[in-house]
């Protein structure tokens, strides 16, 4: 009997191709996972010994970072990083949402698409350029502020925060704007039909409906802020002291590039330790915010 119904001779070779492709995709997927696992393992192997030698408590809560005298406390850097990131998000998130609403709802489409292109461009500018801008434009302004308050002039935490705000705004705007634009018009219509004004409708119906996207923008913003090194080094003054807005501050990310070249022995190992702390920080923030995100979606 020749070919019956649904079977063909090609069947076998087709399924072989399918199987091979499946294996290729599996390898690609595994490669990403393996990268993450390798990094994690490597960070722990290289960072942990120093932390152990210095002492976990001494390392995380020690207030003095003085490698020459074997003092390796990174509490000032941890606090500076937390304060800088938190302050930057606190300002950038509401500002970013307002800009996103403006772009998506309040101005005509053509103007909005021009502005959006510009903002997307901002998101791609190398951070060292932001650092330059900060050093030229923001730091002198802060100097004036410091002088008028009778403080010594220097790079400071506030300058770093301002630079971080500017750096994470494009990301937050762009992601929030996309999210707001994706909300069906029907929510706004329903709200208008209940007798709300346009602005009430946007802020009480449309924006809440876009909250999962907005939280996603926030996650990206936090990630960028806490991980940023170059721009921050250029404006923050980099003294490893307890954070104050108008005094020099060193963020977690800063010690590694500043001291890497001349460090050796326990000092260099301690820098690995900082890397591990930073790594754990970013992991935890991502996991927590993603959980929040999932909750928001449900």
């Amino acid at each position: 009997m020749e070919q019956m119904g649904l079977t063909t001779g090609r069947n076998k070779s087709k399924s072989t191709v399918e199987r091979i492709m499946n294996i290729i995709f599996l390898i690609c997927g595994l490669a990403a996972v393996i990268c993450v696992i390798c990094m994690t393992v490597y960070m722990i192997i290289s960072g942990w010994p120093a932390i152990q030698k210095i002492g976990v408590f001494e390392f995380l809560f020690g207030q003095v970072w003085d490698p020459e005298n074997s003092e390796f406390g990174i509490a000032p850097m941890i606090l500076s990083s937390i304060i800088a990131t938190f302050s930057a998000i606190l300002v950038a998130l509401p500002l970013g949402i307002l800009v996103a609403v403006f772009l998506s709802k309040l101005i005509p489409g053509r103007l909005s698409s021009i502005l959006r292109t510009l903002i997307d461009l901002l998101a791609g500018i190398p951070s060292v350029v932001y650092g330059l801008l900060g050093a030229i434009l923001i730091v002198p302004l802060i100097f004036e502020l410091q002088t008028s308050l009778g403080l010594p002039t220097s790079g400071c935490l506030l300058s770093a925060i301002i630079i971080l705000i500017i750096m994470i705004l494009p990301t937050i705007i762009s992601v929030s704007e996309t999210a707001i634009r994706a909300v069906p018009q029907q929510y706004e219509d329903a709200s208008l039909a209940l007798g709300s004004t346009k602005l009430q409708s946007i802020f009480r119906a449309t924006v809440p409906a876009a909250k999962s996207g907005i939280v996603a923008g926030m996650v990206l913003g936090v990630g960028r802020a806490i991980g940023e090194a170059m721009a921050v080094i250029m404006v923050a003054g980099n003294a490893a002291i307890m954070p104050e807005f108008l005094k020099p501050a060193r963020l977690l990310t800063a010690s590694i590039p500043i001291e890497w070249a001349y460090s050796s022995g326990l000092h260099r190992e301690a820098l690995y330790g900082i890397g591990l702390v930073l790594f754990i920080f970013i992991m935890v923030i991502n996991i927590v915010l993603n959980m929040v995100l999932k909750k928001a979606v449900n």
């Binding site: 039909a193 007798g195 009430q200």
Partner: protein, 258 residues
């Protein structure tokens, strides 16, 4: 106001209403009276202007770019397009239910209180009262009373639409506009909504756009037939369906075009 007085009273009076979308003349000199405590059905083929007309009654066309409207719509003798009219108050008095159910992605409770909160009701007790009354009014109270905090999106399509009706009732309107409210629903849900409309007309004046001729015949007291932006004729529903005056109406309701 007693029953006799509320009958046969003109709720909405439309006079020489023209509407343009840019160059398109979408409504042509429409003159139509809508009776109080009646169901008025607007029928006609797609693109005939019936939905556009419906939206002139709560000025939802205002939000569309390039719309120009001339003529007058009087709600209780007050010109809806008059100077200094606050559309938010108009829309509070003239509620609207859309074609596909569009509850907000919030809890059932928050959906209902959305309108009242916007109009300044803040007290929890008052809000609770409004919620119960509105949900009972839309015949959905028994189905949702134990899950007020659940997302409105967890309801079925038919329930969502009744929730949307309840949401519209919550601002205590006089008039309810319905833009093909059952076209996205299954037959059982449709029946429920139709029964609800029959109940609602005791307290509200209802204008409903429908593509479904049987539905118009079943639920409406008056029917207006639109074609190409013109109001061809309007009458008691029995009259329209038994002895239409205009040949075009007859052709449409007998299914010769549409």
């Amino acid at each position: 106001m007693n029953e006799v007085e509320t009958q046969n009273k003109v709720k909405i009076h439309t006079k020489n209403l023209d509407l343009f979308y840019g160059d398109v003349h979408a409504l042509k000199d429409v003159n139509l009276d809508i009776q109080s405590h009646n169901v008025t059905a607007l029928i006609g083929p797609s693109g005939c202007g019936k939905s556009t007309y419906l939206k002139t009654l709560n000025r939802m066309n205002d939000t569309i770019d390039g719309v120009k409207i001339t003529g007058d719509v009087f709600l209780d003798n007050e010109n809806v397009y008059g100077k200094g009219v606050d559309v938010t108050i108009l829309r509070k008095k003239v509620g609207m239910v859309f074609q596909s159910p569009n509850p907000f992605p919030m809890s059932i409770y928050d959906n209902i209180t959305y309108g009242p909160r916007m109009h300044g009701v803040k007290k929890r007790i008052e809000l609770d009262e409004i919620v119960e009354k509105s949900l009972k009014g839309a015949a959905i109270w028994d189905e949702v009373k134990d899950r007020m905090k659940k997302s409105a999106l967890s309801l079925s399509g038919g329930q969502q639409q009744r929730l949307c009706i309840a949401r519209a009732l919550a601002t205590q309107p006089d008039v309810l506009l319905m833009d093909e409210p059952t076209s996205a629903l299954d037959p059982i849900s449709t029946t429920k909504i139709e029964e609800l409309i029959a109940e609602l007309k005791k307290n509200y004046s209802i204008v409903i756009v429908t593509h479904n001729m049987q539905q118009a015949a079943r639920i409406s007291d008056d029917t207006a037939f639109f074609l190409l932006g013109e109001l061809i004729e309007n009458h008691k529903t029995e009259t329209i369906f038994s002895s239409p005056q205009d040949k075009r109406t007859e052709d449409y309701i007998t299914g010769r075009f549409g």
